[in-house]
Amino acid sequence: MTYFEMTKTVIKSLFSRPATLMYPAKPAKKMALSRGHVTIDPAKCITCRTCQRKCPTQAILVDVKEKTWQLDRMRCIVCNCCVETCPTKCLFMDNQYPDAMTARGGIVKVTVAGPKKKEPAPAAGEPAKKE
C-alpha cells in the first residue's frame, strides 16, 4: 500500500504535449484501411446488382432500367461488403468519414454507365443465388 502512486504519471504528463488533437485545427488521424464511406466510379458500373443483394442493411438500390445506383448513407454500416463483392471493382472505400447529414440528405444517387452493349445484361441474378 503506497501513497502518491500517481506522482510519476503526473510529472510525465506535466512535461509532455497534450495527448489529444486540437481537432478542427489539426486533421483527424487517418489510417489507410479505415472504413469511411463508399464511393463509386460510375463509368465502370454495369448495374449487375451484386452489391444490392450482398448489402446486409439493404442500403443500396440499383435501378437497371434507369441506370442509377443509389446508396442510403444513413442505412449503410460501412461493412465493406459491396466493395469486396463488386465484380468490376467500381466501388471503393474512402477512409474519410462522411460529414453530418440529415436522413434525406444521406441518399446518394448516381447515374452509371450500365452494362456494356455487347454483353447481354451480365449476371443479373443467377450467380449470387447459387452460393
Binding site: 503506497t2 501513497y3 489510417m31 484501411l33
Partner: protein, 359 residues
C-alpha cells in the same frame, strides 16, 4: 427494526450510463434487497436471424455489443464453422486470437477508466483512455474499424496483418507496458483506492459457483474458469494462465482485470512469434444444417452463441447468452449488505454491459 425504504437506481444514473434499473431496498444506509429489471434497450436481434443470410448475420452479431464486438463475431463464426465442418486456416486462427486479445485490452482499459471515474478519480480515467487510444489505433490500422472491426467472417478473416506491422504492434505494446504498469499500480497499490475497494461487495467462492458467475467476477472469487483454456481459435497452442484472485471483493475483480491486460500482451507476443504463413480464409459454400453451442471468453466472461440451421440460408434460431446477463444474479448477492454509497462501485465492478445483456 428500522423502516425500509426503496431507492431507484438507474436506468439513468450519473455513474452508470447503462440502462439497467435496480430497486434498492434500504434499511438506514444498508442495502437489504435488490430487485433488478432490464428491458430498456431490447433490439430483437435474435429475431432478425430469420431475415438475414447466415453470412450477413455476422454483421448483426458483431453489433450486439460495442465493446466486445470482435469476440461476438468470432464466436458466431466459430459456431457456423463447426456446423458446416469448415477447417479455418491456421493463420486465420492466430489472427483471430490476436484481435480477440486486442479487444480484451481495449475493453479492460475502458473499464478501468470508467471504474476510476466511478470512484471520482478522473485523472486516472483520462490516463486509461489515453492508453486505450493506442490499442484502438492498432485495431483501426489492421482491421479498418476502431470498435466495430468487421474483420471476422465465416471461413476465416477478411484482412491479413503483414509481418512488419505485426512486429510494430508488438513493439508498440511492449512500449505501452511500462505506462500500463504505472496505471495498474494506481489501482493495485494506491492507499485511497484500496481503502475504497477492499471489502466492498464480497462474493464468496460458493456463491460465485452456485449463481453461475463468469469471467473476472468468478475469477475474482477464486474460481479458475476461463474458456480460453478450452483452446478455441489458437489459444490451444498458446501458453498462458488465467488470473485468479481469492478475496472476492471489488478490489479482487479490479486486480483480475488489471493483471489480465499483461496476460493479453503476452498472448499477442506469443502469437506474433508462432503465427504461420498461409491463406487467411477458405471459400464457404452451402448452408448450415444442425445446431451448435459456440463458446468464447469475452472481456466480461463467457459468451455462448446457440446457432441452429436447417440447411437453408437463413438460420432458424440464434440465441446469445452474454456474460453480463449471467452476472446479474451474482450482482444481486453482491449488493445485499453493502452501503448505499458503495452501490455504484459494486455495480461497476462486474463490468455491466446492458446492451449486451438485452440484445
Amino acid at each position: 427494526m428500522s423502516k425500509q425504504i426503496t431507492v431507484p437506481f438507474g436506468p439513468q444514473h450519473p455513474v452508470l450510463p447503462e440502462p439497467i434499473h435496480l430497486d434498492l431496498v434500504l434499511e438506514d444506509e444498508t442495502v437489504v434487497d435488490v430487485i433488478p429489471s432490464i428491458g430498456y434497450v431490447h433490439r430483437g436481434l435474435e429475431k432478425l436471424v430469420e431475415k438475414r443470410e447466415y453470412t450477413e448475420y455476422i454483421y448483426v452479431a458483431e453489433r450486439i455489443c460495442g465493446i466486445c464486438s470482435y469476440i461476438h463475431s468470432n464466436t458466431y463464426a466459430q459456431g457456423i464453422e463447426k456446423i458446416m465442418n469448415i477447417e479455418v486456416p491456421e493463420r486465420a486462427q492466430y489472427l483471430r486470437t490476436i484481435w480477440s486479445e486486442y479487444s480484451r485490452l481495449h475493453s479492460h482499459l475502458l473499464w478501468l477508466g470508467l471504474f476510476a471515474d466511478g470512484m471520482g478519480f478522473e485523472s486516472v480515467f483520462m490516463n486509461a483512455w489515453k492508453l486505450r487510444e493506442h490499442v484502438l489505433d492498432d485495431m483501426e490500422a489492421t482491421t479498418g474499424g476502431r470498435v466495430i472491426q468487421g474483420v471476422c467472417k465465416v471461413g476465416g478473416v477478411r484482412k491479413d496483418i503483414s509481418p512488419e506491422k505485426l512486429d510494430e504492434m508488438v513493439k508498440g505494446l511492449k512500449g505501452m507496458e511500462s505506462d500500463l504498469r504505472d496505471l495498474t499500480d494506481v489501482f493495485l497499490k494506491d492507499a485511497s483506492v484500496i481503502h475504497r475497494l477492499r471489502g466492498a461487495g464480497v462474493l464468496s467462492k460458493e456463491d460465485a459457483y452456485y449463481l453461475g458467475a463468469v469471467g473476472p467476477t468468478a475469477r475474482g472469487s477464486g474460481i479458475e474458469t476461463d474458456i480460453r483454456q478450452a483452446g478455441y481459435a489458437a489459444y490451444g497452442k498458446i501458453n498462458f494462465k488465467p488470473v485468479v484472485e481469492q478475496s472476492g471483493d471489488s478490489y479482487a475483480r479490479c486486480a483480475v482485470r488489471a493483471k489480465e491486460m499483461f496476460t493479453s500482451i503476452d498472448i499477442i507476443e506469443q502469437c506474433a512469434k508462432k503465427i504461420p504463413e498461409g491463406p487467411v480464409e477458405v471459400k464457404v459454400t452451402g448452408a448450415p444444417d444442425g445446431e451448435y453451442f459456440a463458446r468464447a471468453e469475452q472481456p466480461r466472461g463467457e459468451v455462448i452463441h446457440y446457432i441452429k440451421g436447417n440447411g437453408k440460408k437463413n438460420l432458424v434460431r440464434h440465441r446469445v447468452r452474454t456474460p453480463t446477463f449471467t452476472n446479474i444474479p451474482p450482482l444481486v448477492t453482491l449488493l445485499k449488505g453493502c452501503e448505499l454509497a458503495d452501490v455504484p462501485i459494486v455495480v461497476l465492478s462486474i463490468d455491466p454491459c446492458i446492451g449486451c445483456a438485452e440484445r
